[in-house]
């Protein structure tokens, strides 16, 4: 049975419908006016429209704008990697693994610990690339383990229970991991060792920091590998089959439990990788590191269309760019002050906006059989 109600026939009917229509229009208007005002400022900060919108507007230089976009893309590709885990788990089990952000945090922490040990041993400076590969591998292994244990302990016993139950459990898991990090590793923020200059400095090529290029390249490569694994290997086909319909897949001789473990493992590995990327970008990690990126990555998964690998990456990039450019592109021209504080609010607003305007995401969602009916 199809769940969607019949075609609206255009006109809203109830108060809620009116309100939602109003909200949609309002969101689009704010975005449109903001962008127009931004363009007006770019042409001339003294033109009347720009003055009306924000008398103190300064506009952005080309370099600033490019910098924003690039940092957005770098962060966005990191969100994309995390989003894969949300998306795959949702695609297969139909629940939001709220604790996935914490797996990412564990990855960043592991990277921090390992890299500091390497730095103590002097290997970090002498062989940066080798060390990087090493910490990536260690972090991926640790995160895979964490994700698999999580599945085994907290989620497997709950399979088949009402759908909010595993979600609530995953909130508990998230809370637990975060606070376990506080009690074991201490509540203070911890730093990564210093990276070589070529990573820190801006390169002549497009004036981009090396770390950002590194992050985007690593994300793109791993995305490609993952895509190949899911689309072209036997295990990947099993995953897709289980995502389509776990019961039928089991009847076809696929070991559903093992496939689900694989899904968690792959998601965990990607989160571990993303954790290292975080370390390279921000060089600092704290127990709450996983929370906001986790939520944003989930938003990315929804924006791209949940259960959709390419969608997760596209969603990640959109969220990353939106939160980096959005405040200055839309809010600043409208005269909102202190816009950089509202980055996170913008990321959430994107999620809410997408769910209002296009609930199935950009590429449409692929859900497990039971959620479609």
């Amino acid at each position: 049975m199809i769940r969607r109600r019949r075609a609206r026939g255009g006109a809203p009917r109830t108060g809620v419908d009116w309100f939602l229509t109003f909200l949609r229009v309002a969101i689009l208007t704010v975005v449109a006016v903001g962008i127009l005002a931004f363009i007006a400022q770019e042409i001339d900060t003294d033109n009347p429209f720009a003055r009306w919108a924000n008398p103190d507007a300064t506009g952005l230089t080309g370099a600033q704008f490019r910098g924003l976009i690039i940092s957005g893309v770098a962060q966005g590709s990191m969100y994309g990697l995390i989003a894969l885990g949300y998306s795959m788990v949702y695609g297969v089990l139909g629940f939001i693994n709220f604790a996935h952000g914490e797996v990412f945090m564990v990855g960043a922490m592991t990277g921090m610990i390992t890299s500091n040990k390497l730095a103590d041993a002097g290997l970090w400076e002498s062989n940066f690339i080798g060390s990087l590969v090493f910490i990536v591998i260690v972090s991926m292994i640790v995160c895979t383990l964490v994700a698999v244990i999580m599945e085994r302990v907290a989620y497997r016993p709950l399979r088949g229970s009402p759908r909010l139950i595993p979600l609530i459990t995953s909130i508990g898991v998230s809370f637990f991991i975060q606070n376990a990090s506080i009690v074991l590793l201490g509540p203070a923020a911890k730093a990564y060792p210093d990276v070589p200059d070529w990573v820190k400095d801006k390169h002549t090529f497009l004036q981009i920091e090396g770390s950002r290029i590194l992050v985007v390249v690593v994300a793109a490569v791993s995305m490609g590998v993952l895509w190949y694994l899911v689309e072209h290997t036997k295990g990947g086909k099993a995953m897709r089959a289980v995502a389509e319909d776990a019961e039928i897949a089991a009847l076809m001789g696929i070991n559903v439990n093992r496939t689900i473990v694989k899904v968690f493992a792959v998601g965990g590995a990607m989160a571990g990788l993303a954790g290292i990327l975080w370390g390279i970008l921000f060089r600092s990690v704290i127990h709450s590191t996983g929370f906001l990126p986790g939520i944003k990555a989930f938003s990315a998964a929804v924006v791209g269309g949940i259960g959709h690998l390419g969608g997760a990456m596209a969603g990640g990039l959109s969220i990353g760019v939106a939160e980096s450019v959005g405040p200055l592109l839309i809010l600043e021209p409208l005269g909102v002050s202190g816009v950089s504080q509202l980055r996170d609010a913008v990321a959430f607003a994107v999620l809410i906006g997408v769910l209002l305007l296009r609930p199935a995401g950009i590429f449409g969602e692929r859900l497990p059989a039971e959620d479609r009916t």
Partner: protein, 280 residues
Amino acid sequence: MTAANGTGRGPGADAANGTSRRPLLETRDLSVDFGGLHALDRLDFEVHEGEIVSVIGPNGAGKTTLFNAITATVETSAGDILFEGSSLLGLDPNRVTARGIARTFQNVRLFANMTVLENVMVSQHCRTRQHAFGALFYTPSFRREEAEIRERAENVLSFFGSRLVGYRFDQPAFTLSYANRRRLEIARAMATQPKLILLDEPVAGMNPVESAELTGMIGRLRDEWGFAIVVIEHHMDVVREVSDRVVVLDHGTKIADGDFEDVSNDPRVIEAYLGHGATT
């Protein structure tokens, strides 16, 4: 008494002959598409007051889709649905129910953890008015309405004899036997005080005794409660027993419409059921 229904008496039969009276429910050129599949294809279908219409057809003919379209749970792509002369298009499912159409589901869908009585009480929602204020201040009108809701619920449940009354009132619905769940679902539909009830395979999964009993009840629903009824059913003996009129669907279109004897002899119906070549 129930045996007499098959002969085509009753107001429905008259209305079917003389087209002067407006039908209770009418679909005009109704189409429902799922992707490229035409689940319903320009269907004209009507039900008159006090009439029992059976909808039959092979699997996938669009019978349940017709119900879903009427109760606004699927999108229609073209055509119109008129109930008492005004369109149902664009209404939310709950508004459709408020207008006077109630349904049961093919795979019984009760509020499993609510008690039998609560199941029937909650479905009077759209016929009752009390809101938070009355409940909070325990106003006389609130108390009166609660009593009425309960009385009506008990009244509806007593329609099924002793099966759903007494200690059963306070049992959660999931402890009921399969047949009783089906009965409770009908009771729930009755409690919404509809003019038209849509029954989706009401005797599916019942044994012959239960099935025969329920068949009789469908007739009583019309005679004693005055509902018009549309039944989707696969059991031909049930269809013969209850129907004033039988509509046959195949691939989303109506291929026959008339009383049971005519329809069962219609070559197109036989072809639809038995496949091409069966008539020759």
